[in-house]
Symmetry: C2
Subunit: 322 residues, 2 copies
Amino acid sequence: MRAATATGAGGPDVLSVTEVDEPRPQPGEVLVDVVATAVNRADTLQRQGFYPPPPGASDIMGLECSGRIAELGEGVEGWKVGDEVCALLAGGGYAERVAVPVGQVMPVPGGVSLVEAACLPEVAATVWSNVFMTAHLARGERFLVHGGAGGIGTMAIQLAAARGAEVFTTAGSPEKLELCRSLGATHAIDYHEDDFVEVLQEAGGADVVLDNMGAKYLGRNVTSLATGGRLVIIGMQGGSKGELDINALLRKRASVTATSLRARPLSEKAAICCGVVENVWPLVASGDVRPIVETTMPLEDVARAHRMMDDGGRAGKIVLTL
Amino acid sequence: MRAATATGAGGPDVLSVTEVDEPRPQPGEVLVDVVATAVNRADTLQRQGFYPPPPGASDIMGLECSGRIAELGEGVEGWKVGDEVCALLAGGGYAERVAVPVGQVMPVPGGVSLVEAACLPEVAATVWSNVFMTAHLARGERFLVHGGAGGIGTMAIQLAAARGAEVFTTAGSPEKLELCRSLGATHAIDYHEDDFVEVLQEAGGADVVLDNMGAKYLGRNVTSLATGGRLVIIGMQGGSKGELDINALLRKRASVTATSLRARPLSEKAAICCGVVENVWPLVASGDVRPIVETTMPLEDVARAHRMMDDGGRAGKIVLTL
């Protein structure tokens, strides 16, 4: 089958489409004929050699896909060959076929195309697990997400707004800020112009912060928290070691959690996917949460897709079709 | 009435017993005739000027007491004058009488004297709220508490062991280590001899750590955590600003929470006291959890009691009787 593979670690040009062996579905897995996959920040880190796949995962990139079930592994029930699905992957999405544990296979939500569905699993699972399962964002609470125009940001804004939170976000251009507002952010903060700490403090503090900057924002995120606030860190684009002001945290009775989705055990991923299907898919079907796709291109353009990701400046996700 | 008061901030000798006005129970409060109170680390910090009482709290020290209800404030139901009780206080326990929000008044658990009951509310509420309500320590999990021979430590060891956790603790003398073992710690670690990080890592990591050292142990506590581990910081005896290794936290999908009990709103304190009466008092009544009292002395010896607390080297709590 065709798959995007890398010749060593490095820039986007290490990527190209080659012929590789097809995966076989193990017991409890399904084999999916991939129709589309999407590019995530973690893919570009993996390409650069910073984020090796977890043990047992495919060394092909791609953390999500949509497609049709081609074959059922031993013991799989509830699905049949030909079903249209999307799936959360530990890797392997940049290929014509991928084997997926059945707990990570989800129906395509109503109201979106099979291609669009490829860019939902990773962001929906990340936002649902961190903002709702871990941080328990509740109706009426104040929520801050950094990088509101990105894949995670656009999902987080929409989902938090749809569930009745007051949404604050940061972005770096007028177009991105406007996108954030159109998705439901009531406070879209231009980080070149304004200090998000001041904005949040004036509003009474953030109950939940979803952060991808790590060390660079650690102190400012803690300062932005309200009493009882929960900071959840899911990326370290701003470094991994930061000073924690324990006294500030203690006075607020606040918490800092750092998580990743990819290395979680299958049982946790299955529970997250259940939560997504139950809580996020209905909001997609109703149009309250929509996939934000910047562009779609064939898998053969994988190097170009990664270059766009590296250059930043995007809004929404980059989808690759097979 | 008699109360221990301080002439300025400083060493134990600033404390003496003087005559002050009696408090009046406000609506929703009860007035308690204090039989006994106990010394907590926070009292010694307050004496030194480092830990001012929260707004509205008595400026008399004392975060817990036992005694008999002397008067019911407006709207109080479920108690009557003469009832023997113990109570969690925001302050005011070092006195003949104290006014307490009714949500913080608890019955005296079976099997302990009214004097012994004075040293249970603060440690029971601290351990219950942090280890169980916040960190959700579960049966079969590994639990590490630092300073196992202290007031918090002795309660944490007993409660965690009684609820089926595997208990690790640190202490600094053979006598203290023996006390910890007798209370249910299966791994009592002499911090002069052994590295708790190594012990925990060999065992598979701590699911929950209860820490009173703050910055000094932040890195080592994070290193000691298991996947999904929860570090709860309730004291900063080792400083307040420490380096947080976000990458280590993220790889473990772990959290750091810092909390204090005293400044919480009444509704939260009431919920905590409910949890204590429901979950901790039955274990006290059955003898699985017992108050560890180092010594009992009259309130007039308050300066000596604080000197003992400052000197360290103790095991269990210091009780003051009225």
